[in-house]
Point group: C2
Chain length 235, copies 2
């Protein structure tokens, strides 16, 4: 019933968000000596969003946003040595080891002989390629696509390029907005990994009117059985 | 004799290096008030090279390298307002208008009905995609590939993905190292655009023992005729 399976990477196959949370915590620690208004520090999210138009999504955009915010909210009082510390923080984020979620290796080992697998991930090209190599998983994948956005247009472009029919395509990922909804919109299959620390069960727009092509599991080890149950694998 | 034509983008289809030179000139102007040793400022190239391992090639790496160098060589005396100026400089570089070289539109207009065209460009994913869209040329291309390196391995991966035989592939670009030599090494065709301001005629390792698959022109308007002459286009 399907010809290809694609996976999201960050927070689907390996840990990611916690490095951003840790980076942000370290950043706030650097700023703590400047006796700032707590509300001002909260501007960080706005800064990050504003900077997407210049830098896109990814760790380098995050680093540059931290530097800009630090300069702005300290009213240019921040010590340049602290800015260098922010850059070091960023370099650490860009080179951290890749920690796979439990069961990832076994799942890809089982699926890769059955379907060609593709990784579709959003962010800095160089950083995502580095993580792909460092993950030790690249041998399981037939293709890696690093994209700057995950919307129906981008998925359509990838599917056309590989000659994949949308209704023969399954996307597996943790983000409803990036991995699930656009693929369902195109008529594809989507398996939602609803195990992410930030995931809330109330936040599920598909719970009521679930199309047949929408699958859901709580964690990586549940995926194989769910695919079997949906008739997408031979028993 | 060929099935696909691929083009490099920066300094082949549109102006690029001059924005880096201008950005660097502006950067040195910002630093000029700090009464620095000229030799120290020259460390910039080393900084950029060191940072490729973290940030890859591209404008964001350039911005972060400028910030790091400014902090280092001023011995942390640089004013944070000047660091913000460097970031603004970077944002300007990331959003400048795309200026095509003379004859690019006509060439692509002539070639795109004959061969599928691909753009293969190195740098920040988001930045390169933005330039591709802003160029007004995207309609001529069947594919865009943003890569973090241009070596035989990367070209091989692209060729395999599109099912292109190396000896049926022509790459057109201004850089011997990135666009020409790796493609010739794989057995492909390469057309060298030797019109770049930094190009020196003595610096041509292929001048002596030129394989048949190596073509050379001085400027974009010469390309069509050169392809005709090589038998790659119907007269």
């Amino acid at each position: 019933m399907i010809d290809w399976i694609a996976f999201d990477a960050d927070d689907t196959l390996w840990r990611n968000e916690e490095y951003y949370l840790e980076g942000r915590a370290q950043f706030f620690k650097i700023l703590s000596k400047y006796d700032l208004d707590h509300e001002e520090i909260r501007q960080f999210d706005r800064f990050e969003v504003d900077n997407i138009q210049y830098f896109g999504y990814g760790a380098m955009s995050f680093i540059l946003s931290m530097i800009e915010l630090a300069i702005r909210i300290t009213e240019e009082r921040i010590h340049p040595g602290d800015i260098q510390q922010i850059i070091q923080l960023g370099k650490k984020m860009l080179t951290h080891e890749v920690v796979l979620f439990q069961g990832v290796g076994e799942l890809l080992e089982a699926l890769s002989p059955v379907y060609p697998l593709m990784l579709i991930t959003k962010g800095d090209l160089f950083h995502q390629q580095r993580k792909f190599k460092a993950s030790g998983l690249s041998g399981y994948f037939k293709a890696l696509e690093v994209v700057s956005e995950k919307d129906p247009e981008v998925y359509t472009e990838i599917l056309q390029r590989y000659g994949i029919r949308p209704d023969r395509f399954l996307m597996i990922g943790n983000s409803l907005r990036s991995d699930i909804l656009p693929v369902l919109e195109l008529g594809g299959w989507a398996l939602h990994l609803a195990n992410h620390p930030t995931w809330s069960h109330e936040d599920d727009p598909l719970a009521e009117s679930t199309p047949d092509r929408y699958l859901k599991v709580e964690s990586i080890p549940g995926i194989y059985g769910r695919l079997l149950g949906a008739g997408l694998l031979q028993g």
